[in-house]
Amino acid sequence: MQQTGITGAGRNATGIGNNPNNSKIMVQDISSWYGAQPVLKEVSMPIHAKSITGLIGPSGCGKSTFLRCLNRLNDLVRSFRLQGTITLDGEDIYHPDADVVLVRRKVGMVFQHPNPFPMSVFDNVAFGVREHNRQIKKRELEEIVVESLQKANLWEEVKDKLQASGLSLSGGQQQRLCIARVLAVMPEVILLDEPCSSLDPVSTAKIEELLLQLKNSYTVVVVTHNLGQARRISDYLGFFLDGRLVEYGAAAEVITNPREKATEDYLAGNFG
């Protein structure tokens, strides 16, 4: 569905359209600044389709900034500036003709702190769907909402209070509600910024299980401070330090056999 190109021109002629190893997103040599402060420095990284890419690194190293480049959410920050290219299915998402709204539709995001809308549980999930398809039938909408809540492993807990405010749920439930909200609009990529940082171990385990299910149909990128989590769920792992991508590779490889001293130190818990 909705496979129209984001620049409206089909694949563009940057020559990176046919990337070699089936990557959904290609990040090429990006650097970014907030005002005069440099944050990301010459970062290049593929993001593979239907797999989980984990991003780790000490606080303040630019993981969130990187993630928010992938759906252009940094556009909200006036002082933000970016150099380099990011392509989604071969199309430059920062191209002047690119449709930002469409990019964000394809690249959904779950935030570090659960941020449900001040609406009912049902409306939280239905909102995006309704906005994208204003003529949608009530039945169809209800099906999507139920299905999304089921996929997010939340249905059993909220099926009796769909009309309660989304803000009345527990933190873990709110976070899964936010995941359901993203799933409902059927993005192709899902970005998660420390989705478990405010959750207890049980909720965390539920979300990890969910992410493992999701990678069968979505491309998932997840920032985490929890090395155990990175180990458990990632297929690929990137280690950021001070705005640079110090190490990137298959997760097992990076964890058992890091090439860089800094990665080794970080994994050993020596800083951050």
């Binding site: 959410l73 909200l76 709204v101 935030f111 941020n115 809308f117 001040p118 909102f127 906005e131």
Partner: protein, 307 residues
């Protein structure tokens, strides 16, 4: 020594606090003492009548209706204007010289005395091109009713309250957590739809607060009513005003409000029914206090909801 100074400051704060409260209480008690005895059903449901005998001067029905007309109409004109201004300033405006000029303009407007708005409104609406807004006074040949009417007064009121309403709505919009906006954007929802469907509903209580603030200002203003609505005590449009075919004509004609009623029936104006003036003052204060209570309630309600 330090302790003493501390005590002096404490006492000063305390005394001024008590004084403020006393002034407030004094006004209300005074109005109740002077005006409560004229309050009864007939006072609220009879039109004012000119008479030298205070007992025969009737009630405040027409001014009460006039206040309702003028505040409703004024806020209806002001709200879309203020809302659009606030959305622009909070969501779209960048730091350009034009936006700075606009902000300064709004601040200046907020400081303009209402009597100045009043003569401005009068000057504009007596222009023949805007004749639609007010009807001719019968018997005055080829002359207009000096460009006075509910419509004229309401437009002028809208100009007067615009800066206050727009500023409080802008504040309400800015107070909406940015995380709502991020969440909507991340779902691929356009900026306008995000504003329309997420931000404005989340700011609703603040927007209503701004509206009520504007209503209070309109209900309490005298200068604009005096110049732009005129000095007739009763509605001058065709009667009965409640019949639909007379609605437009009623608004193109003049009337009075509680504030001008107070002026005209007190000895300071040309009236001789001071007790009725106090009664009307009491009614006006009750209306404005009720509006404040609504604002207070909404403020508390949203704070609770956010917790």
């Amino acid at each position: 020594m330090a302790k003493k100074r501390h005590f002096a400051g404490y006492a000063a704060c305390w005394v001024s606090g008590v004084l403020t409260l006393l002034v407030c209480l004094a006004i209300i008690i005074f109005l109740v003492l002077k005006g409560a005895h004229v309050l009864n059903w007939r006072f609220l449901t009879e039109d004012p009548r000119p008479s030298l005998n205070e007992a025969l001067t009737g009630g405040i029905l027409a001014p009460l209706i006039g206040t309702v007309f003028l505040t409703t109409l004024g806020i209806c004109f002001a709200l879309p204007w203020a809302l659009a201004t606030a959305i622009y300033l909070a969501e779209y405006a960048e730091d350009t010289p034009w936006v700075k000029t606009l902000r300064t303009g709004i601040d200046v407007l907020a400081g303009v005395p209402t009597i100045v708005f009043a003569i401005f409104g009068l000057a504009i609406f007596t222009h023949p091109g805007l004749a639609f807004f007010s009807t001719m006074v019968e018997g005055v040949e080829n002359a207009r009713a000096f460009g006075r009417s509910f419509l004229v007064a309401a437009f002028t009121m809208a100009m007067m309250v615009l800066p206050f309403v727009a500023k409080s709505i802008e504040e309400a919009i800015r107070a909406v957590p940015v995380t709502y906006k991020e969440a909507a954007f991340a779902l691929g929802i356009s900026k306008w739809r995000t504003i329309r469907m997420v931000i404005l509903p989340a700011a609703a209580a603040g927007i209503i607060t701004g509206v009520v603030l504007g209503i209070g200002r309109i209900a309490g203003d005298t200068a604009i009513v005096w110049l732009c609505l005129g000095g007739s005590m009763t509605l001058t449009g065709p009667q009965p005003w409640w019949e639909p075919q007379n609605w437009l004509a009623t608004l193109q004609n003049t009337g009075s409000t509680l504030t001008t009623y107070i002026f005209y029936s007190s000895p300071a104006g040309e009236g001789n029914s001071p007790n009725k003036a106090f009664g009307a003052g009491l009614v006006l204060i009750v209306i404005i206090l009720a509006l404040n209570a609504v604002v207070d309630y909404l403020g508390r309600f949203t704070r609770l909801k956010e917790e």
